[in-house]
């Protein structure tokens, strides 16, 4: 390139940049941005937070932190109430301090304060004491009123050192004997009789509950991961379905709302599990052009594969081992545009698979639909609704219009070594062979 040309090229580029002042109209901007917002809004409405990978990882720590905060808050809420109860009641009415090793659910404590809690909560079995109308008891009842969860949470934290400060100087054996003699009727636990027989240590209960919650969360996490993996494995494209809530489509872009096909995709996972859709008004057959089993080589480390055998869809770059053979499990040849031929003479070497006429004769002037070229002069045609092979080529043209060729695409569905579908590869089109691959010798 001469220096003058280079200078001219720079000027052309400058001219282009001066001419490149167009922007999309505001309503198009608005429609696209609305679609982006609507899509994300729909995602968030549809998916629980833990299904998002970033959030998924932090679910358990956050849940534990939230539990600790809740429990601590309950402790601070309950302590003043219990202190007031201590002032107005007999020492025996004070809630028991329960150390971790000996903590017992005290919901059926016969003491007035606890009885009030039971009445308010209402957890009692009717054996509550009569002195449950005291102010202190009422206050505690109000505190406990929000529900059994609070009562249970209160019990679960009684093993803390903070609660030990309110303990009365009773012997361990006294407390144990008293506590063990009371039935336990916590609703969230095992049946009352069983609980009464074997009091449930609160810490153990807490651990059990936390363990169950953890197990449930872990199970949910594993399930979500499996779901995510399955989704990746199937395809990297969004589901094909009507989305009436997609306001940008339905209101701003009615054209888009009518679309039901997948538009594009990219991802690390496999694509192309979908079976090829039949071409409306077109023709498609399983197999490949020519004879013998074709083999291909992928010289580079990636192939552009489509989710379906359709060039209108966006391809996805899928990694492949360099210089490896491209494995496929399905091969199809699709006719995108056929050619209509008119017989010049009588044509008798026609072979049809249908039952109507296994070996018809095409009369001069009759029209056949040329679908695909086969091999050695034979072509696949549609004749009176039947698919037939016809000897098309001869020294002199047997059909008018034979100078045109049908436009076909040859696709193969690429699989990996584990026979997992990776996507559809366009082997040949009317434009020629796909340069991503090299054709190897066929096997017979």
């Amino acid at each position: 390139m001469t220096a003058q040309n280079e200078e001219h090229d720079i000027r052309i580029s400058a001219l282009y940049q001066r001419s490149a002042s167009e922007d999309p109209p505001a309503h198009v901007d608005a429609a696209i941005l609305a679609a982006a917002h609507a899509a994300v809004g729909r995602d968030q409405a549809r998916s629980p937070p833990e299904t998002k990978p970033l959030r998924k990882r932090s679910t358990v720590p956050w849940a534990l932190a939230a539990s600790i905060v809740l429990v601590t808050a309950v402790v601070f809420v309950m302590r003043p109430a219990e202190r007031s109860a201590l002032v107005s009641m007999e020492p025996a009415a004070v809630p028991q301090t329960l150390r971790p090793a000996e903590t017992t659910l005290a919901l059926n404590d016969p003491s007035p304060a606890v009885a009030d809690k039971q009445k308010a909560a209402p957890l009692t079995d009717g054996a509550a004491t009569e002195s449950n109308k005291s102010d202190a008891g009422a206050k505690i009842a109000r505190d406990v009123e929000p529900g059994r969860v609070v009562a249970q949470a209160q019990n679960t934290v009684r093993g803390s050192k903070e609660m030990e400060a309110t303990d009365l100087p009773r012997s361990k054996s006294e407390k144990t004997a008293e506590l063990d003699s009371r039935p336990t009727t916590a609703p969230s636990q095992a049946p009352a009789s069983a609980a009464a027989a074997t009091p449930v240590p609160a810490i153990a209960l807490l651990e059990k509950n936390v363990g169950l919650a953890d197990a449930a969360r872990e199970e949910a996490r594993v399930r979500a991961e499996e779901k995510s993996k399955r989704k990746d494995a199937i395809e990297a494209l969004p589901p094909e379905k009507v989305q009436p809530e997609f306001t940008a489509d339905s209101v701003v872009q009615p054209k888009l709302a009518a679309k039901q096909k997948m538009d594009a995709g990219v991802g690390s996972g496999a694509i192309g599990n979908a079976s090829p859709k039949k071409i409306s008004g077109g023709y498609q057959r399983d197999g490949w052009p020519g004879e013998g089993v074709p083999h291909f080589l992928a010289p580079t480390n990636a192939l552009l594969l489509y989710p379906e055998p359709d060039q209108a869809l966006a391809p996805v770059k899928v990694a492949t081992p360099p210089n490896s053979e491209v494995l496929f499990d399905t091969s199809i040849v699709r006719t995108l545009r056929s050619v209509f031929l008119t017989a010049k003479d009588r044509v008798s070497d026609v072979f049809c698979s249908g039952a109507k006429s296994a070996k018809p004769v095409i009369q001069p002037g009759e029209v056949i639909e040329y679908l695909q070229y086969g091999a050695e002069g034979y072509g696949l045609v549609r004749y009176r609704t039947e698919i037939c092979t016809v000897f098309l080529m001869d020294r002199t043209p047997r059909f008018d219009g034979i100078d045109q060729k049908p436009e076909v695409e040859w696709w193969v569905r690429v699989v990996d070594e584990n026979k997992q579908v990776r996507g559809w590869l366009l082997v040949e089109s009317a434009a020629g062979s796909n340069q991503q691959i090299k054709h190897l010798a066929r096997t017979f």
């Binding site: 001419s19 490149a20 901007d29």
Partner: protein, 207 residues
């Protein structure tokens, strides 16, 4: 608040519109959008809307069609957000989708066209889709400025050359164009060279 001021306000409040020294990559923006951050998409869209629109407009030559196709392209991006992984440059992916939409459009309009050839001889590859209803350059350029003449001359280029030239002018390098058009970089280079040769000749008095 007028529209311009509002735009500046929105820009200032978008966490992804950071200073030039710490520009967030397109791929990162797309990942953030796929994680639910719409603001990231807004930046991504603002970056690329004009080049892609111009590419579509120069190819279709009709604003209404370019509008439609631009929507198609970005809606495809939106729909594909969940499966997005930055295996290639975002720009390459974006133009691949844009090109697919364009081909789809041509198919609807005129039936199948040839688009994936990689032959050096396919300079007229997309000519079958060139819009022949356009006025000739001479109808348009009489007494008009060089910029307008350039537009007309670009429209007159063979489609494959026009495609490569436009992508190149919109910032894609040879390798990216080759990947988008599924051809070789050498072919792209030739197409751009041929396009520039023609433009140089046609616009000699402007250069």
């Amino acid at each position: 608040m007028n529209e311009c001021a509002l735009a500046v306000f929105q820009h200032a409040n978008n966490p992804y519109t950071v200073g030039m020294s710490e520009v967030v990559s397109d791929e990162e923006l797309m990942l953030r959008y796929s994680a639910g951050k719409v603001a990231a998409f807004e930046v991504l869209y603002a970056r690329h809307k004009a080049p892609v629109y111009r590419y579509l407009l120069r190819q279709t030559k009709r604003a209404a069609r370019a509008d439609e196709l631009l929507q198609d392209v970005w809606v495809a991006i939106i729909k594909a957000r969940d499966g997005y992984t930055p295996s290639a440059k975002f720009t390459t992916w974006l133009y691949t989708i844009a090109r697919s939409k364009l081909i789809d459009h041509y198919r609807r309009e005129r039936g199948f066209v040839l688009v994936t050839s990689t032959s050096e001889d396919d300079e007229n590859l997309l000519d079958s889709i060139a819009d022949t209803t356009q006025a000739t350059p001479m109808d348009v350029v009489q007494g008009q400025r060089c910029v307008e003449r350039l537009r007309v001359e670009i429209e007159q280029l063979p489609a494959a050359q026009r495609e490569a030239f436009l992508m190149h002018e919109e910032g894609l390098n040879l390798e990216q164009i080759a990947e988008v058009t599924q051809t070789r970089a050498e072919t792209v280079k030739s197409r751009i060279r041929y396009a520039l040769d023609k433009l140089r000749t046609k616009l000699a008095d402007c250069l």
